[in-house]
């Protein structure tokens, strides 16, 4: 019999469609979320008295004022950027270093242990991290630096760094493992030291994966809400200026995400305050999109070379 049974044909078509729907759903969800956020905020955007440029560049954030509510997010953007950048300065060397150690330098037994511990680290809920920031780190920073309050950029950055490191480590380690062993053998066979081999051969070969690891860490840091809300002090303030050392790590700040989390529950639905929080959502969406897009372009650029 050359004809396949009807049942088999139908089953195959069915399976194909289920898989297709699964694939498309990812795209649909992203668009749906974006549309929803946009929809919630659109009333204010098109109301005529909303100046987007002013929204971005002024730092007065008085959304609850009776007579004169002002919505300026530059301080919030500064908060997000400062905490994220400082967190990455701490997390990237640690994360990549740990990935290198686990992948190349440690014994198989230690490797298994470390991987399990790092996965455990990734599984700690963010509110627990926030709690650590609020209590332990707070006191530590007050004592070490004599600061009046320990809920600062530095506190949030350290907490965020601790949260991003497991991601950077596990993705980075995967990237290093993906480099074929023949590269290692070829390098070592040339009589160079292990470190020279890692530096000259392994890192260039794994750079795309390592870059992806770092950017996923950045994504995590930008999007994190609860921990930074608890650890950074929640003060609308720009923590840097034009003079050295530029960034004041012991200032309290407030991030975009923390603002949404803290204020959304307090606002009346469809009030302008409510809508402006959704515009902040769009802004966050745009920032993470830009980060991911840059990452893609860089990776493609590296490949095309």
């Amino acid at each position: 019999m050359l004809q396949r049974s009807k049942y088999k044909v139908i089953r195959e078509v069915l399976i194909e469609w289920i898989i297709r729907i699964c694939g498309i759903s990812a795209v649909v969800f992203v668009f749906a979320i974006f549309l929803f956020v946009f929809w919630q905020g659109k009333g204010l955007i098109f109301s005529g008295d909303f100046d987007f440029w002013k929204f971005l560049t002024t730092k007065e954030w008085y959304p609850a004022s009776e007579n004169n509510p002002r919505y300026g997010v530059s301080a919030l953007i500064a908060g997000t950027v400062s905490v994220t950048v400082l967190a990455m300065i701490i997390a990237v060397p640690f994360g990549l270093g740990a990935a290198l150690f686990i992948s190349e330098f440690c014994s198989p037994k230690l490797k298994e242990t470390l991987k399990i511990v790092i996965e455990l680290l990734a599984a700690i809920p963010s509110v627990v991290w926030g709690f650590i920031g609020l209590t332990i780190m707070n006191h530590l920073i007050m004592e070490l630096f004599g600061a009046p309050i320990g809920l600062t950029v530095l506190n949030g950055a350290i907490i965020l760094a601790l949260m991003s490191v497991p991601i950077i480590v596990s993705i980075g380690e995967d990237a290093l493992q993906a480099v074929p062993d023949s590269y290692r053998e070829a390098g070592i066979g040339l009589g160079v030291t292990r470190w020279q081999m890692v530096y000259k051969v392994l890192l260039p070969a794994a750079k795309n994966g390592l870059l992806a690891a770092v950017l996923l860490g950045v994504g995590r840091a930008i999007g994190e809400t609860m921990a930074v809300l608890m650890a950074t002090g929640h003060a609308v303030h720009i923590p840097f200026d034009a003079e050295f050392p530029f960034l004041h790590g012991l200032d309290s700040v407030r991030t975009l995400t923390a603002t949404i989390a803290a204020e959304l529950g307090e606002t009346a639905r469809d009030s302008s305050h409510y809508q402006v929080l959704f515009i902040i959502g769009i802004l966050l969406f745009t920032i993470t999109f830009a980060v991911n897009l840059t990452a893609d372009l860089i990776v493609k650029g590296v490949k095309g070379k």
């Binding site: 023949s182 070829a186 070592i188 066979g189 040339l190 009589g191 160079v192 020279q196 051969v201 260039p204």
Partner: protein, 254 residues
């Protein structure tokens, strides 16, 4: 064959991975400036033997080595500086491994790592190695393109140039012709005939005829046992001492 003048002495070499023994005690020596052919079917321990010789076996976690390997009388497992030792040995893998660097950097990688910084000196060395590997004319105008962009045969010659870059005393070739065409193979074989004046060559090959063409002496390994080692003429004459050797070189198995 007087032992004192040998380049390499391998004595009672046993190698196991975990509980699985892959080399069961082999003893032979390699003379200076000879081309030493090693033949045998897959799983004979040929590649593992090379890994022991340049001590990259150190990185295989469950490998266990017994017996001695001596280079000019010195036990290679007791050398003070293993990196220094590995530099004395050039290794060419079966499939070309173009490191993710430019052609120039591929060849300059090892000398730079040992501290050679002078640009003219490096240029000269890179050119000489590429010439020795019969690749210079094909790549001299594009030394700054990625080594991985070359064709398979060119990449293999690049790995040979790279192996020559640290001026080894012993050059190990592990089935180098597995991924390249016959014409390129012949080109490289000519190169090897030249190189033997400067160094000792261990030629592990899957083509028994290649050993016949090039090797002064040939060793036949089978399942980790040394069946026979003798003058190449003798091995291929059909009158080798062991019947298994005669059967293998005449294509009865393997």
């Amino acid at each position: 064959m007087v032992a004192e003048t040998a380049k390499l002495n391998i004595d009672g070499l046993k190698l196991s991975y975990g509980s699985k023994q892959v080399i069961h005690g082999i003893t032979f020596d390699i003379q200076p400036n000879e081309i030493f052919g090693v033949i045998g079917p897959a799983q004979s321990g040929k590649t593992s033997m090379l890994k022991v010789i340049n001590r990259t076996i150190d990185f295989t976690a469950d490998a266990h080595v017994e017996g001695t390997v001596k280079m000019e009388g010195q036990n290679v497992f007791h050398v003070k500086d293993v990196y220094e030792y590995r530099r004395r040995i050039g290794m060419v893998a079966p499939l070309p491994v173009g490191l993710p660097l430019t052609i120039y950097d591929n060849v300059a990688f090892a000398p730079r790592s040992f501290g050679m910084k002078d640009k003219d000196q490096l240029d000269e060395l890179v050119q000489r190695c590429l010439e020795q590997a019969a690749l210079w004319d094909e790549v001299k105008d594009r030394l700054d393109t990625l080594g991985t962009m070359l064709s398979g045969g060119q990449q293999q010659r690049l790995t040979i140039a790279r192996a020559l870059s640290h001026q080894p005393e012993v050059l190990c070739l592990d089935e180098f012709s597995i991924a390249i065409d016959p014409v390129t193979t012949m080109k490289i074989e000519d190169v090897l005939k030249e190189l033997r004046n400067e160094m000792t060559i261990i030629l592990v090959t899957n083509l028994v005829q290649q050993a016949r063409r090039l090797a002064d002496r040939t060793m036949f390994l089978l399942n980790g046992d040394l069946i026979e080692v003798d003058e190449t003429e003798k091995i291929f004459s059909g009158n080798a001492q062991e019947t298994k050797t005669n059967e293998f070189v005449s294509g009865a198995f393997g």
